[in-house]
Every structure is written in C-alpha cells, then in structure tokens.
C-alpha cells in the first residue's frame, strides 16, 4: 500500500484545536468512581489474556456466529419452524393417523406430500444458513497480529483472540474486536478510523491514545506491559464508553476517543497497538446486531387466517358428519343387515357404541375433507415464488453494467410483499448518494461561475419541459394561460439548452471530484477576469483552509488528498485544477504550488499556519490564521452561509446580495454550499488575541470549551465575503427520478442516516425530498443550551414540546399545498422513541411529506423501522448498503441491500439485493405489482378449487350414511392437486400480467392496488369461497339428479358409483380450469398449454387408468372407453355443469367491467384498442394524472414552482389592469 507514496510523518494534534483536547474534568470525576456502580463491572488485565481463561473474568471468545442453526439444533429448530405453520401441524396429524385403519386414504398418499413440502423448505433453510456460516467463517478466520510473549508478535485467527490480548493492526485492516488504543505510528498516538460499517459515515474519525501509553510504540515494549482496565459492561451504544485504565498505580480515565470498534477500519495510519476489551458478541457492533428474523409476507399471514377459517369449516363439517354417522349407526345400522352390524370385530361401525364410532369417524372425516386445506398450496406457492425470483434475478433492466451484478431475490417468500410497500426507509450514504463530492459551481465576488448543471436541475428541467408541453396543449383556449405560457417560453428555451448542453459534454468529465466547467476560470483564464484579486483570494482559501494531507503519487506526479470529509477533498481538487496545488503540509505550514503565477514559472508559496479553528457541527465554520510570504496575516474562513453572513464587516458585504442570490439558486439545485470569507489582521491584533486564545486553551475546567468558543468567536468577526462554493453530493444514477416515481406511486420515503444534519438536509434537497418553501420541522436535542443538558427529563420535555408544537402547526395549516418536512437527529430520536412519546412522534412523522433522521445509530435505525412498521401497520421496506443498515434491513418487512458496494453485510442480511437504488422502482412497481397480484389471485383460486372439490365429498357423505366413503377413486383425489389442476394455477402465479411492464411504470398509481390490498381483501377472499361453495353445489346436485336412478346408456345399464364419481370429477376439472381461464388476462402459449392441457390430461389419465389391470383400477376399468365416452349424457352433463358453474363469475366480471371498471381494466382496453397510439395526448395526460398527489419529488417541486409563477403572473396582471 505504501509503495510509491510519500507521507510526511506529522504530529497532527498540533493542527487541531478542539477535537483532540484532553478529556475535561467532570468526565474524569465520573469515571474514577466507576466500579462501584452496577453495569460497570468489567475488568480487563491488559497483556494477560491467560487470566481471562478463568471465571469470573472469562469473557466470550472472539468467535462470532450469525447463523440461525447449528448442526445439532438444525433438525429440531428447523422442524419447529416448519410446524409453526398452522397447516403443517394438521397435515402431520393427518399423516400419522393415515397409518391407522381410520383413514379413508392410503398412508403413502398422506405422508409423501408432507415429507416433500417440509423437506424442500428445510433444505432451503439449510442452504441459506450454510451461506451465513461460510460468511462467518471467513470473518472468524481472518488473521491479526497478536502479542504472543516477550515482545514477539505473531498472527492468529480472529476467533482465537481473547480479552486482554495486545494486537497490532495495520493500515486498511479491520479491527478484530473492540480495542483500547495504546499507541499508533503517529508519535502523538492518534489514528484515523473509518466507521463506515458501523454508522455509514465515510469521513474519517480521529482516535487518540492516552499520553501515558504513548511510549508503547514498538513490539518490544510490550514485553512487560501490564495494566488493568475497569469499564462498562458490553452495550450497544456506539458513541459512549466509560472506563479507566490503571497503570503504574495511577488511574487514567478513558473515553470513546480511545476506543477502536470492531468492524471499523484503520485508515491513513501505518499501524496501531491496542488492547482487546470486548470480544465476539460483546463488541458494540455485534451488540447492535439484531437477530435475523424469519419474515413472512402479509399475504401469507392472512393466508393463515384463511386456513384457520377453512379449518373451522373442516371441523364443522366433520362434526356434522360424525354426529350424523353416530346417529345413523345408532338407529339405522342395526337394521342394515347387509352390513353385518353385529359382527363382534367391528369397532368402527358398532351400533352399540355409537359415541365411540362417532369419535373414530370424526378423525376419518377430518382426513377425508382434508382437501379443503390444500397441502399442495404451499408447494405451489414456494414453486411459484421461486420462479418469480428467477424472473427478478434475470431482469436485464436491473442489471448493473459497472459492477456486473444482477438483482437478486435472496429470499423468495417476500415477492408479493414488494407490491404492498407503503413506506420506504432509506439509508443515505451509498444508497442515495455515491458519497462522492463534485465541485460544480462557485460564486466569486458576486459573479456566478460554472455552467454545468446539477443532476437535479437537469431532471427538473426535463420534467418541466414535459409539463409545459402538456399545459400548452391542454388549455389552448384560455387567454390567461397563453400569457403564462408565453411567460414560460423564455425559461423553456433555457431549460432546453440545459438539457442539450449536458448531453454533449458528458464525456469530458474525467477528474474525480471536479465537474466544474466554465472557460472563464479554467485553464488559467481567470487571469483575465476583472476581479482578479478576489479570485486569487478565493482559490487560496480553498487551498489553505482545510485539515487535509496531500499524498504524492510518484507514478503520476500528481497529488491526491486525504481529507476528513469528501467536501474538503473536492475543494482541494478544485484548487489544484485552478492552479493552486496544495502540495505539502508541515507541522506549521502549508505549501501551495501556484501553477499560473502572474509571471513565469510555477512557484511554491509557503503559508505559516498560526492557528487553526476547527470545524464542528455546532460552529458550522472553520478558519485558519496564516502568515503569507509577505508577512501579512490573514484569517481565512469557510462555513455555512448563515453563519458567515452574520459575521461580515460593514464593508465586507459588497457581494452579499449577489452571493445570496446565487446561494439560493445553488440550494435549489440541490447543491451543498459554503461561503468563503477572509479578513486581514494586524500583527498586534493577532498577538493580543493569540495570548487570550492560548490562555483559554491551557485552562482546565468545565468552562474551558465555552472559553475557547468565545475567544474564537471574537476572532471570526468582521469578515469580508469572497464568494461561495457549490458542491454536488453526487447522487447515484437515477435516484431523483426513482424517488419521484416512487412518490407518485404513493410511497412515503424516510431517510435515515448517520450523517450530520446539514449533509442530510442537503441530500434531502438533492433528491427532492425537501424543497424551497417546504416547512422544515427540526427536532433536535442539541438545540438546547449546553448548560441545560443537566437532566434527562428536561431534555425529554423539551423534545415532547417540540413535537406537540409541530403537530399543532400542521393542524392549523390551511394551505392545501403546504408541505412539511420533519428532520430529527439521533439524540432527539433517543427520546422520541421512548414508549410514552413514540406515538406522538409517529403521528407527526406521518403527517409530514418527508422525514429525515440524521445522526442515527444502527440500533436506532432498526427502532425507527420497527416503530413505523408497528405503528402504521403498513408494509415497510428498508434499503441500505452498509453494515450499519443491517438492523433496519432485518427489522423492516422487506430489507433491500445495495450490492456491488464494498461491504456485503447489508446484502447478506437483506431479502432482496439490487445494485443501484434506482432499480427499486422496477423492483416495486413492476415485479412487486405483478407478484402481488399473481400470488393473491393464485391463493384465492387455490382455495376456490379445493373448496369445490372438498365440499362435493361432504355432500356425498349425506347420501352415503356419513360412512366416510369417497365418491371418487383414491387416485382421482390424489392426482387432483398434483397433476390435474396444479399447472394452470402455477402458470397464473408465474406468468399473469394485468398490464405490461411499461404501463406499470407509466402509471405508478396502479401500484396503489397493492398497497390498498385490493386483490386480497376479505371481500374478495369470501367472494371466491362463495364461488367455490356455489360451484360445489352445482356440480354435486346436478350430477346426482341427472344420474339419479335411470339408465344412462342407451343399452340400459344404470350408473354406478364410479361412473357418477367420474362424471362429477370431469365436471370439476372442466369447471375449475375454465374458471382459471376466466381469471387470467394474459395468455401466452404456456397458459394455453397448461389450462387446456390439464383438461386433456384428465381424459388421458382416465383412459390410461382404465387400461390398467382391473385389480388396480377397480371399477374405473375401461370406464371412459366403454361406458362414459359413448354416452351422450356424459358430455351433455359436462357442458351443462361447466357453464352453470362459471356463469355467475362471468356475469360478475362482465358487470364489474361495465359499471365499476378498475384502473387496469381501462388501461387494458386502451391498449387493446391501441388508443394510446391514436390519441397520444390523452395517453400522456392520463399518465401524468396517474401520479399520486405528492409533496415530494421533482414533480411536486415543479408544481410548486408553477403555482408560484402563476400566482406571480396573476398578481402582475391584476396590478396592471387595475392600477392602484
């Protein structure tokens, strides 16, 4: 890694003023009194891992396991999981009973399907768990350098690390456990850590060791190192740590800045030494991990209720049967001499013990009518979902060229849930954004530079151009509108140029972090600009005011920068491109190579850094005081515009108005902005201030922070504004469009991010979740004064007040177009998520158009997800890419992981993995929509067909003395679900499309059919059940009456039970297959083959079965060929019954279509008559109307803008016509 790189070894602490300070006094006091309190019992003997092999110091090993099962527990646990399904228990009982003589069917026919169903599902579980195990083993077997003995280090697997071990972690390695930082390659013991996997933040964090352990910077020094750490017990809080280190009979307090957390990565530091404090499942990251739950879709959960209903029906008719049987046995059977009722061996039909016989019969009946609850349903659903998952995996439109990954349905049992999502909870970094900052525009001395447009602008322009077109054609007659249009035209042209200019120059963009394009500034042309002075100053601020370190790539000779935040790196890259190349940092100076000096060759200019005032989220600014080569002292400052503008001197506001305008434009365009300012200092002025500053710096006490704050505040005043920068936080491809579409489909989008509030808000703007004119409700615990942070109750009360106030405000709002955005930070969330407050919080959040939660920990992400899921009782989808999203991915009803990125943890925990956020649109609107409808229709139909079949068995019982005789041959019953009706319903579940995929995208409103659960509500389910009941009655009684007693063949033979049963069965096959043909709206050759093939299959089956030896086929021998096929009554009955069964359904759908057509009906018709081609205007109008009225997304943004424009125009008109 270090090859070809030169790095200055720096004592970086001198660069910082705030972040690397000693821990302040009160914290020390708190932590010295540690071990007395409960929850702080952990004792770690450093460098003495052997001590920790005995109790009570024996802590868990560093072995981690995220699997659900192990070899021993797999069988019982997986079986338990399987038999948690209500239906499986029933089938198990039926299978056991089928071994006795009570069963009306043979044992094999009961056990085999169950074994297949359970076996398949368990095999699937096993494979999934095996994958998790492999992943765990990879982690457990990673190697790390551990102190063995006598100052010698050697490699060990992660799993073998114990508490107390001293480990040495090299650059770009992960920490194997939670460590106490002892020392690093930097002499002041700092190191840089990337906590991407923990909280999703990519900016580096500085960790700093205690001064006392600084000498431990060599392998050999650990020979005799001993120390005792007393600290808190394992917990999940990532940002806190309380403990102390006892070394040399001295006690040193520890704080979070000395703790290196497992799964974070060492960056920019050659190596560190650390002591293991928490291992394995005790580590903070593992404490944050929630158990991976087995998820079930809501459709499937509802299906359980249907099964309960059917089971009740089953028990009910079984009880009727057995009571009927008992009565018959008691009163009729003694007279039925032909049954030999007095046979002593007869237990099941004993007229002397009718109750007992009835009880036995109950079991028989339960098995006999078992067809009401289709075991094949589970197999079919699993199979259908598997095929649906293949379609998702194979979708070319969800294939990412760059990373070469397809979408992946990792668990197929949630496919239909994709069609019912109500709320999307999204991570920001890596999901919405690429976490890459591009310097895009700037405003210098009131002049705006940078012609390239942000993605938001481009997309908005496209949308607007489209909408304008519509408006133009929509209301051509309105005089007033024409005026507006003419008003728009100018902007329209502008918009078009925006679009075209972008297209042509796309390939030019090569430099990472720099998308600036303006010939006035690039290539040294800025030398010819009128305001040269300010421009130079501007570039200097960019090049000097930062905390980054340059790194020279020897191969290319250019510099790259390691900065704390990607914005800063973008500034430096920009400065480099403009000719101010930051090339060296020493302890006290910064060297900038000026490539385009006023005259001659590039020169290196050195700036002495006198003071650096750090950036914190509270200050929202950063300044450096430097002395340039001419001896002039300058304060260079960059910061949030609101902060800077407050601190301008009277003569420093020259460009204020223009800059403000530009900043608003940038903000509108979704860019992150910073204002730059400077001021010149007199030598004496600086010295005076510096004395005070040093005093404050060296002071000890609780008010030290405040003092420093006050002193720096004194300095950062009377600034002169130079300009502003606009950086684009590069959104991932297609994110704004995707969010727009999802919003139009009626989905709510929440953003949960570990990032700072400002960053989150910026991104909110960038993806149109926020817009100008939206009322932002910020709820934050840090709004309060530092002094007021004394009691928890006070903070809580404050948060509650903020929430109630905001709710009040929303209630009182009268403007229907008003939109609110809720922004809440992690600290606020801790309180808002408490039991007594969370419902108020949720209510508020639901009322807001968009919700952004920032600075949230992984656990909080999961908690928020749970709150949304349980509070709204709607389906939630969580999407994220990092390990910090795992909790929320697992908690949500559907977890989606972004694959192709660095970590695989999110993908491993997810149910679906896609390569880019934008594929979510396709995944939900197309696959989700289809899968939901398919599964819903499939399940309804499945119950219908089994009710039809199962009830005919019951009716027959009433005519057979409730004896438990089936009118159908055993083989008919067995093949009914397996070969005769399974393929059509599977083809329905796999291939059905109500509308084509482009229509799904064009009409996002169609998605609402799933969210509102239109196809699986109780009305529909009961409708189907009623249809089944009707069909069963028709089939049974028509057949019974037609074949009552007379001859059915021309030569006089009467029909026996097998003939009647077969005719009845033929009718069932025809009726249910015609029914499914009526249900389908999309016939490919596959559906035709399966539906009509199934009918043909029945005749084929009957024919083949009839040719078998009569000992096998029994009374079905030659039945079709000899008796049924030549009998016209067989065919006429089939025709009559089939038509009669399907008549009500056909009439129903015809009526529905004519009077109450659903959206997809109309769209089908439009497509069928090619009206969309003939009347393109209508088509596009409907398309735009099909959007949900949302308050987020571009469309909302454009609409808001148009309203604004219209209002303006009207005002202008009225003022011109009625001059006052």
């Amino acid at each position: 890694m270090t090859r070809g790189r030169i790095r200055a070894r720096l004592r970086r602490s001198s660069l910082y003023t705030f972040s690397c300070l000693r821990p302040n006094e009160n914290e020390t006091l708190e932590s010295t009194s540690l071990p007395d309190r409960p929850g702080y019992s952990r004792i770690v003997y450093c460098n003495q891992p052997l001590v920790h092999q005995k109790r009570p110091l024996r802590y868990p090993s560093n072995y981690i396991s995220t699997t659900k099962y192990n070899i021993l527990t797999f069988l019982p646990k997986a079986l338990f999981e399987q038999f948690r399904r209500a239906a499986n228990i029933y089938f198990l009982l039926a299978a056991i009973l089928s071994l006795t003589s009570i069963s009306p069917f043979s044992a094999v026919s009961m056990i085999a399907p169950l074994a297949i169903v359970v076996g398949l599902t368990m095999a699937k579980e096993a494979v999934e768990d095996w994958r998790r195990f492999i992943q765990d083993m990879k982690v457990n077997n990673r190697k790390v350098n551990v102190h063995k003995e006598g100052g010698v280090f050697g490699y060990k697997s992660w799993r073998d690390i114990r508490v107390g071990d001293v480990v040495k972690v090299d650059k770009d390695q992960f920490f194997p456990a939670d460590l106490l930082l002892l020392s690093s390659s930097y002499e002041d013991g700092i190191c840089y850590v990337e906590t991407m996997n923990l909280d999703g933040e990519t900016n580096l964090k500085v960790k700093r060791s205690l001064e006392v352990s600084l000498f431990l910077d060599d392998d050999a020094t650990f020979k005799d190192f001993k120390g005792i750490i007393k600290c808190e017990d394992p917990n999940s809080s990532l940002y806190t740590f309380v403990g102390n280190l006892e070394y040399d009979r001295q006690i040193y307090p520890l704080d979070p800045s000395q703790i290196l957390l497992r799964d974070s990565k060492l960056r920019n530091t050659a190596y560190v030494f650390g002591v293991v404090i928490f291992t394995g499942h005790d580590t903070k990251v593992m404490q944050n991990a929630t158990e991976s739950p087995s998820k079930r879709s809501s459709v499937e959960r509802k299906m359980d209720y249907i099964i309960y209903i059917l089971f009740s029906a089953l028990v009910f008719i079984s009880v009727i049967s057995s009571v009927g049987f008992a009565v018959k046995t008691r009163y009729a059977t003694p007279n039925q001499w032909y049954l030999q009722p007095n046979d002593p061996k007869n237990k099941l039909y004993n007229p002397h013990q009718p109750a007992l016989s009835g009880l036995f019969h109950l079991v028989t009946a339960l098995i006999l009518y078992g067809y009401l609850i289709p075991i094949s349903l589970y197999v079919s659903i699993e199979f259908v979902k598997f095929l649906q998952a293949i379609f998702i995996n194979q979708d070319m439109h969800m294939y990412d060229e760059d990373s070469g990954t397809c979408a992946e349905a990792r668990t197929s049992n949630l496919n239909e849930e994709l069609g019912q999502v109500e709320t999307i909870l999204s991570d920001k970094t890596g999901t919405l954004t690429c976490n890459q900052m591009d310097f895009l525009k700037c405003s210098i001395s009131g002049t705006a530079y940078g012609t390239r447009n942000s993605e938001v602008e481009i997309a908005a322009a496209k949308q607007m151009a489209m909408d304008l077109e519509e408006h133009n054609s929509k209301m051509p007659n309105f005089h007033q509108m024409e005026k507006i249009n003419s008003g728009f035209e100018a902007s329209e042209i502008e918009l078009e140029t925006v679009i075209t200019s972008k297209d042509g120059k796309d390939d030019k963009h090569l430099i990472k972090g720099f998308s600036f394009e303006d010939s006035r500034l690039t290539d040294g042309n800025w030398l010819n600009e009128p305001n040269l002075e300010t421009i130079i100053l501007f570039f200097r601020i960019l090049a000097i005011c930062h905390t980054a370190i340059p790194e020279l790539d020897e191969e290319t000779g250019s510099f790259s920068y390691e900065a704390e935040s990607p914005d800063e790196a973008a500034f430096l890259v920009a400065a480099r491109e403009f000719g101010f190349e930051f090339c060296k940092r020493t302890q006290s100076s910064v060297v900038v190579r000026q490539r385009y000096p006023l005259f001659g060759q590039p020169v290196d200019r050195e700036y002495k850094i006198l003071t650096l005032l750090d950036f914190t989220s509270k200050r929202k600014r950063m300044s450096v005081i430097v002395r340039d080569e001419d001896g002039e002292i300058l304060l260079l400052c960059k910061g949030a515009d609101s902060i800077i503008f407050d601190r301008l001197s009277k003569n420093g506001k020259m460009y204020l108005e223009a800059t403000t305008r530009h900043l608003n434009e940038y903000g509108d365009a979704g860019l992150r902005t910073l204002a730059l300012a400077y001021k010149r200092l007199e030598e004496t002025e600086f010295t005076a201030w510096n004395n005070e500053f040093q005093k404050a710096k060296s002071s000890i006490g609780s008010d030290r922070e405040a003092m420093l704050e006050r002193v720096s505040d004194m300095m950062e005043r009377d600034l002169i504004l130079v300009g502003a920068t606009a950086v684009e936080d590069k959104l991932q491809k297609g994110v704004p469009q995707c969010i727009d579409k999802l919003a139009q489909a009626g989905l709510k989008i929440w953003v949960l991010t570990g990032d700072k509030m400002e960053t989150a808000i910026n991104i909110g703007f960038a993806c149109s979740l926020l817009r100008q004119g939206m009322k932002q409700i910020c709820i934050s615990a840090s709004h309060m004064d530092a002094s007021a942070q004394d009691s928890k109750e006070a903070v809580k009360e404050n948060i509650l007040m903020q929430i109630t106030n905001a709710s009040q405000m929303i209630k009182l709002e009268k403007d229907p177009h008003a939109a609110f955005a809720l922004i809440i930070d992690g600290k606020g969330l801790t309180y808002a998520l408490e039991d007594d407050m969370k419902h108020q919080f949720l209510e508020l959040a639901v009322d807001c158009a968009s919700v952004i939660c920032c600075r949230v920990s992984p656990k909080q992400k999961a908690l928020v997800t749970r709150l949304v899921k349980e509070g709204t009782r709607k389906t939630t989808l969580a999407i994220g890419d990092g390990a910090n999203d795992v909790g929320m991915i697992q908690e949500a009803d559907i977890g989606v992981g972004i694959s192709g990125a660095e970590g695989m943890q999110a993908v491993m925990a997810s149910d679906f993995a896609i390569a880019q956020f934008q594929f979510l649109e396709r995944l939900l609107l197309i696959h989700g929509h289809w899968c939901y409808k398919r599964i819903a229709q499939m399940i309804c139909y499945f119950f219908y067909k089994n009710i039809v079949f199962g009830l005919t068995l019951f009716y027959f019982e009433a005519f057979a003395g409730f004896s438990g005789q089936s009118i159908y041959d055993d083989w008919y019953s067995l093949s009914f679900n397996v070969i005769l009706t399974s393929l059509p319903v599977i083809s329905l579940g796999v291939f059905e499309q109500d509308v084509s995929s482009d229509v799904c995208l064009e009409f996002p409103a169609l998605y609402q059919q799933g969210t509102r659960n239109l196809f699986f509500d109780w009305q529909r389910i009961f409708g189907w059940m009623g249809n089944g009941l009707y069909s069963s009655l028709i089939i049974f009684f028509l057949n019974i009456i037609i074949f009552y007693d007379q001859a059915f063949r021309a030569d006089g033979q009467t029909a026996d039970m097998s003939a009647v049963g077969t005719v009845m069965f033929t009718c069932i096959i025809w009726a249910v297959n015609c029914q499914i043909a009526l249900t389908m709206s999309h016939f490919t050759w596959i559906q035709h083959l399966f539906v009509w093939g199934s009918v043909a299959m029945w005749y084929l089956f009957l024919f083949l079965y009839g040719t078998l030896s009569p000992t096998t086929s029994g009374n079905a021998y030659q039945l079709l060929v000899e008796a049924l096929a030549p009998a016209p009554i067989y065919w006429t009955t089939t025709l009559l019954v089939t038509v009669a069964c399907n008549l009500p359904y056909f009439a129903h759908i015809s009526f529905q279509r004519s009077f109450n057509p659903l959206d997809h009906h109309i769209i089908q018709e439009i497509k069928y008559y090619k009206k969309d081609v003939e009347d393109e205007f209508m088509w596009s109008r409907e398309r735009s109307k099909a959007r949900q009225k949302t308050k987020i997304g571009f469309t909302a943004r454009v609409e808001a803008k148009m309203r604004h424009l219209k209002a303006k125009l009207q005002k202008k008109q009225s003022s011109s016509s009625y001059p006052s």
Binding site: D395, A901, M1057, S1154
Partner: protein, 348 residues
C-alpha cells in the same frame, strides 16, 4: 462505497471498478426471462359478453329441447310391490315373514300405458339401501373375482371373508347380500322371455369376473344373506352378480334385471309372478319393479332437459340485460374518465 478517502489513497480506484468484469453474469435476453412472451390478452368487451351469452343460449336451448323430447319418449312402468306382497302390517311381522320359510310368490299386474319398443329393460329398484356405505363398498376382493388362484385373497372382505375356516368365493358383504327376488312376465298367458344376457358391463364380464372362477363355500356361514349362486356356473356368466357388484352411488338405485326382446303394445296387461325373497323390510326399504325403454340419452329423466333450458334461458335473459344496459348506459371502452384518478380526483 466510493469514499473519497478510499479512492484517493488507491489513486486509480475508479478505473478499477469501472473495468468490465464478470460480464458472464449479465442476464441473457430471452423473451421468456424478460416476461415478454407474445400473449393474447382478451378483454371482456360488451360485444364479447353479449355474444357469449347468446351463444350459450343458442346452443343450450336446442340441446334442452332435444333431451326433453328424448326423455318424454321413454316409456316407464314403475310398480312398488314391497308392501303388497307381504301379508302383514307391522315391520316386525314383515321381517318375520320375509325371514321365515314358505312360499313367497306374489302376483302383480301391470298395464302398458304406451307402446314400448323392444328392448324393454327390466329393473329392480331398491330404496334406503346403502350400497355406498364405506363398510359395504370395501368389502370385496377384485383379485379373487378375477383369478382362480387368488381365492384366498380375502383380507379386504371382512366380515364375510371365511366360512368354516375356508375362504368364501365370492367373498365380501356385497356378494353376500346379492339381490334374490325373481320375476317372470306373461301377457295373455303367454310367457315373455326375459333375456338376462348382456345386462352387465362388457368389460366387467370379460376382464373382472374370471371365466374359471366358480362360487365356493358361498352362503355357507351362519348368516345367510341374499341369493345363492349356482356353483357350476363361472362368475363370468353370473351376470346378476356382476351387476350387483357395481355398487350404486345413492341409497336409491336401480339395477338391471333383464330385457324383454319384444314390443309391448299400449294397454297390454302384463302379469308378473315374482318371488319376494329379499329382505328390505328390516331397514324400511322399498322395492320396485321397473320396465322402461331407453332413448339415446338413456332412461326417463326430464331434469337434464329442464336444466339445459333454464341455463339457456338465463343466458338469453342476461344477454338481453347486457344489451339493454349497453344501449341505455353505454361505457365507451377505454374511456379514461373511468380511471380512479378521474372519478374521485384528489382522493386516492
């Protein structure tokens, strides 16, 4: 992912990730996997609906008329004789009579209402007789009936499996309870021959009842059920048994008894001499003698025709209803104003 820090320290990080790799994972295009197979997407236009209903009624009404005519052409004489042929009023007396010894001959006269074309089928009809009872249905052995060597396959025949320690052929309750009333017919003192050949299903005769299987040990147990079988005739020829062994679906059923191969004229009076042996009195079952001709549709049953006519009529009515609706309140197909967002704007 592409954190700036990462890429800068890697130098050319972005170039790496954009390099094409594993292009083999790229899904191959096929209309199947992309769910773009050509499909016909029929939709229910009013024209289709009306056509379908009309079509059904156009097909169904003629079929209904035809089957009704066929059914009405069939001449059927039904004579219930169970009560009249016993000289007793109470159930127990009747049972006693039927179980007791003595001559059980009974004479009946039937009048032919209409010309009956040969062959006239003779049936006996039993009522409240549960031939479909599970205990009864299962009590038979197809192996034994078919194959001479499987005489001992009687495990499924309980409780009528063995008698005196030997297997019964044919075993089981069904065979044991074989119907044993007999009928003979005469017109004007001229005996009518009853043809008992060909009353069973041909496949049963040929394949299910063996030519070399003879009744053995039949009705030798303590309980005597129904008819005795001629032990010198193979089962293949015992057509009464073959017919009886086809168990009926309902407790009321007719079984083929024989055929009269000559026309019967209207107002002919038939004298029936029957032997009333079979005990239906225990379970209050009726016994009937039925003479019937057949049509192409089988015996007399008006229901099929009526059902066809009703369904056809209903469809015709629905067709009219739909046409009326279509005329009165037509909905233009694909009319976007019916889309949900147009019908209740704002409120989704």
């Amino acid at each position: 992912m592409n954190s700036n820090a990462t890429t800068t320290s890697l130098g050319t990080g972005s170039a790496e990730s954009s390099a094409p790799r594993r292009n083999s994972k790229r899904p191959k295009y096929s209309r199947f996997t992309q769910q773009e197979l050509p499909a016909c997407k029929p939709i229910l236009t009013p024209r289709w609906v009306i056509t379908a209903f009309l079509l059904v009624s156009v097909i169904f009404i003629p079929i209904g008329v035809a089957s009704l005519l066929a059914s009405r052409k069939v001449v059927e004489i039904v004579d219930r004789y169970d009560a009249e042929c016993v000289n007793a009023t109470t159930k127990s007396e009747r049972v006693k009579y039927i179980q007791g010894p003595g001559d059980k001959t009974c004479n009946r006269t039937l009048r032919v209402p209409k010309h009956m074309k040969a062959p006239v089928h003779i049936y006996y009809q039993l009522d409240n007789f549960y031939q479909n009872h599970r205990r009864y249905v299962k009590s038979r052995s197809d192996e034994q009936l078919r194959d001479n060597h499987s005489a001992s396959e009687v495990s499924s025949c309980k409780p009528e499996d063995t008698a005196n320690g030997n297997p019964i052929v044919p075993c089981g309750l069904i065979a044991w309870s074989l119907f044993n009333d007999t009928y003979s017919f005469a017109i004007n003192n001229r005996n009518l021959t009853v043809n008992k050949k060909g009353i069973s299903w041909k496949s049963d005769r040929d394949h299910k009842f063996g030519k070399d299987v003879y009744p053995k040990n039949f009705q030798n147990g303590t309980l005597i059920g129904g008819a005795h079988l001629n032990s010198s005739m193979s089962l293949h020829e015992q057509e009464d048994l073959i017919v009886w062994m086809r168990t009926a679906a309902l407790p009321t059923f007719r079984k083929f008894y024989g055929k009269i191969e000559e026309d019967l004229q209207a107002n002919d009076v038939i004298h029936v001499t029957l032997k009333n042996y079979y005990n239906t009195y225990s379970f209050n079952g009726k016994k009937m003698l039925v003479l019937s001709t057949t049509s192409w549709l089988g015996g007399k049953n008006n229901f099929l025709g009526i059902a066809y006519l009703s369904v056809g009529g209903l469809c015709f009515f629905l067709a009219m209803l739909f046409s009326l609706i279509y005329l009165v309140k037509p909905r233009r197909l694909g009319d976007p104003s019916y889309l949900s967002w147009n019908r209740n704007p704002g409120g989704h």
